[in-house]
Structures are given as structure tokens and as C-alpha cells.
């Protein structure tokens, strides 16, 4: 399977764009100790660095402004969104910064310089909580039904407690 079969259409939060270059940054955080007058040094590993992605994208065509507005809106929405890159997979990322560049001599072309950071908030917004009030209402109705049903069965109410 050639790498061409792996290519996917890039998009963020479902809004498509075209890609000129994309870069992923990773690594590990750490602290390096260098001791005065010593031949030794010490390196301390402080865990994995958060994944960042920088994307140089562009939108082209007669409706490039509409496409660019849609992308800008998607980038500005709260929370993380699904970022799909052509060959570097997909992940839930939050747009850290973006620059929308339109130049005079490249009409009909909108460039986006975007940087993303990996977001732990899955999806786009915090998960909606259960509607406990509705389920409480529901169970109240069930209880009233059961009480009514039981009241309509005189045979089970004979004798003493």
C-alpha cells in the first residue's frame, strides 16, 4: 500500500481545508542539571510534552471567503474539535492560535496559519449531564401508577397487618 492510499481530506470540526504543510511537535519535558566544576550532569524526566500541531493551510476558489469564514468559526468555537490531517491521523485538538492571511497579489486565496494543542476534553463540549430531574419525574409517574394499580386490587387488602 503506497502512502497515497493513506491520504485523507484534511478538516477541523468537519470544516475542510487544503494543506500546504503540517508539523507535529512532541517530546518530553525535563530538567537538566549541570553542576559547577563537575564532569557529571543529571537529566530528570518530567513526563511527556503535550502534542502540538502547526498547520499551514489554504482555501482557494470563488467562494474562498465563505470557506474561510466557516473555518474561522470552527476554530473559534469553545473546546476541542476533531482535527484530521492528510497523513498524520486525527485527534481531538484545540486551536491555540490562528492567523488568517489574505494578500493583494494572491486574490481568491486565503491562507491560514494554525497551531493546535491536544485537548483532553473529548468531543467539542463537556458531556451533557444526565437529566436527573426528568428521570425523577418519570419515576414519580411510575410510582403513582403502581399505587393506583395496587389500590384497584381490593383482594390484596384483606385482613390485618
Amino acid at each position: 500500500m503506497s502512502w497515497r492510499d493513506e491520504i485523507r481530506r484534511p478538516s477541523f470540526r468537519g470544516v475542510p481545508f487544503k494543506i500546504e504543510a503540517n508539523t507535529r511537535f512532541g517530546g518530553r519535558r525535563g530538567f537538566t542539571y549541570e553542576f559547577a566544576k563537575s564532569e557529571r550532569s543529571l537529566d530528570e524526566d518530567l513526563g511527556r510534552r503535550v502534542t502540538r500541531v502547526a498547520v499551514s493551510a489554504y482555501l482557494i476558489g470563488d467562494d474562498c471567503l465563505d470557506q474561510a469564514d466557516a473555518l474561522e468559526a470552527a476554530l473559534g468555537r469553545e473546546g476541542g474539535g476533531m482535527l484530521v490531517l492528510p497523513t498524520m491521523g486525527q485527534a481531538v485538538m484545540r486551536c491555540d492560535t490562528f492567523q488568517r492571511v489574505e494578500t493583494k497579489d494572491a486574490g481568491g486565496l486565503v491562507r491560514f496559519e494554525m497551531s493546535f494543542v491536544r485537548s483532553q476534553i473529548g468531543g467539542s463540549s463537556p458531556a451533557p449531564g444526565d437529566n436527573t430531574q426528568a428521570s425523577s419525574q418519570q419515576s414519580a409517574t411510575t410510582l403513582a401508577d403502581a399505587a393506583e394499580l395496587s389500590a384497584n386490587k381490593p383482594s390484596s387488602w384483606k385482613g390485618t397487618t
Binding site: A140, L149, P154
Partner: protein
């Protein structure tokens, strides 16, 4: 059913219906009128309805009407207390009392689900009341081997506790405050919250205020 059982059952039903009518309040709207009509009809035909074993449906209609007419948690609690205060060990009398108590619990759950709480203490107080209210009804249903009602009771109990706990979490607590001197209400609100617009809230928490210009030097306020 003997005459004596019937007489005691009618008394229990009438007591419940009277409490229910009081719980609905002396409202003037259509909902209150409906409540009074339903309660009156059931009260008038209490004997026949009990003898025929057909009081369940009209009694439930009365309870639903009371909630629509704006019955409060306190009012519904009083109805439940009246129903549970029937200490007759004859099952045909408990039939009315327990049905009323179960319906009152269902309506309590419904009222709690629509109540908006402002502080965690309010919710905790409601939770304590609900727990106490459910306990004896659950015991009775379990003792009677009434599986369906027992299950409905426990699941309603669980649902309301879960709802109250979930809604208590984001609410502020009520905490005491104390200053060296008495302050006017607006100054106090500004001092505590940085927002004099929340003065009314502060007044609602401190019922013993004599005059809003001289708020008690020590009182209670929401923590956020």
C-alpha cells in the same frame, strides 16, 4: 368490609382529601377550582368509592390536581403525614392510608423535581425529609409483599436522591458571617459579594432583620 371498617376508612379518606385541599392553597385560578371540585366529589362519594374499591383513580386525580394548583413541598408533606398517621392495623383501612401516602410521595418527588433550589442546605434539608418519608412507606410495601409498589417506591426514592445530589453539587453553601458593627443592607451586600445588587438574596437569608438599614452584625449568607 364491615361497617366499622368502612367508617374508619371513610374517615381516613376524608382526612386525606381535606389535607390535600389545604395543600393546594386557597388559590383562585382554574387549577384550584378543579382541585376543589375533584376533592369535593370524592369526599361526597367516599363511602361508595371505598365499598366498590374504586377510590384509587379519583384520588390520584385529586393529587395531580393539587400539584397543578401549586401545592408546595410542605403542603404535600402534611398530606403524607396525615395519611401515615393512620395507625389502624386493619388492612382495609390501611388500603386508603397507604395509597394516599404513596401518591403523596409520588407528588413530592414531582414537586422536588420542579423546585429550583438556591443553596446546598435547602437541598440537604429536603433530602432528609424525603428519606424519612420514604422509609415507612417502603417498609409497609415490603411487609405486604407488594413487589411492584416496593420497586416503584425504591426507584423513585433513588431517583430523587440522585437528582438532589446532582443538583446540590454546583450550588453555594450558606455560611455565617460576622462583623464588628451593624451595616446597612446594601453596604453589607457590597462588602460580602462586591455587588450591592445581591442585597435581596441577603435579606432572604436573614429573616430576623428588623430594618434593612441595620442588618444583624452576624448572620448568614451564600458562600458564592
Amino acid at each position: 368490609m364491615t361497617f366499622s371498617q368502612r367508617r374508619r376508612a371513610i374517615a381516613a379518606l376524608k382526612a386525606v382529601v381535606t389535607a390535600l385541599q389545604a395543600a393546594g392553597g386557597p388559590g383562585t385560578g382554574q387549577a384550584s377550582a378543579d382541585l376543589r371540585r375533584l376533592c369535593g366529589a370524592l369526599s361526597a362519594e367516599a363511602g361508595d368509592a371505598i365499598q366498590a374499591g374504586e377510590f384509587g383513580t379519583p384520588l390520584r386525580a385529586c393529587f395531580e390536581a393539587a400539584v397543578t394548583a401549586g401545592a408546595t413541598l410542605d403542603g404535600m408533606d402534611r398530606v403524607r403525614t396525615v395519611a401515615q398517621a393512620v395507625s389502624d392495623d386493619d388492612l382495609s383501612v390501611q388500603w386508603i392510608a397507604q395509597t394516599a401516602a404513596r401518591l403523596a410521595l409520588a407528588m413530592t418527588v414531582r414537586i422536588l423535581a420542579t423546585t429550583t433550589f438556591t443553596s446546598r442546605q435547602d437541598i440537604e434539608a429536603a433530602q432528609v425529609r424525603v428519606n424519612a418519608a420514604f422509609a415507612s412507606a417502603e417498609d409497609f410495601a415490603a411487609g405486604q409483599f407488594d413487589n411492584e409498589v416496593w420497586r416503584a417506591l425504591t426507584s423513585a426514592h433513588a431517583a430523587v436522591v440522585r437528582d438532589l445530589t446532582a443538583r446540590a453539587r454546583p450550588l453555594p453553601r450558606i455560611v455565617p458571617y460576622a462583623f464588628g458593627t451593624r451595616m446597612p443592607l446594601l453596604t453589607l451586600a457590597n462588602r460580602l459579594f462586591g455587588d450591592a445588587g445581591r442585597a435581596d438574596e441577603l435579606l432572604a437569608e436573614n429573616r430576623d432583620t428588623v430594618h434593612p438599614l441595620f442588618m444583624p452584625a452576624a448572620g448568614r449568607a451564600l458562600s458564592a
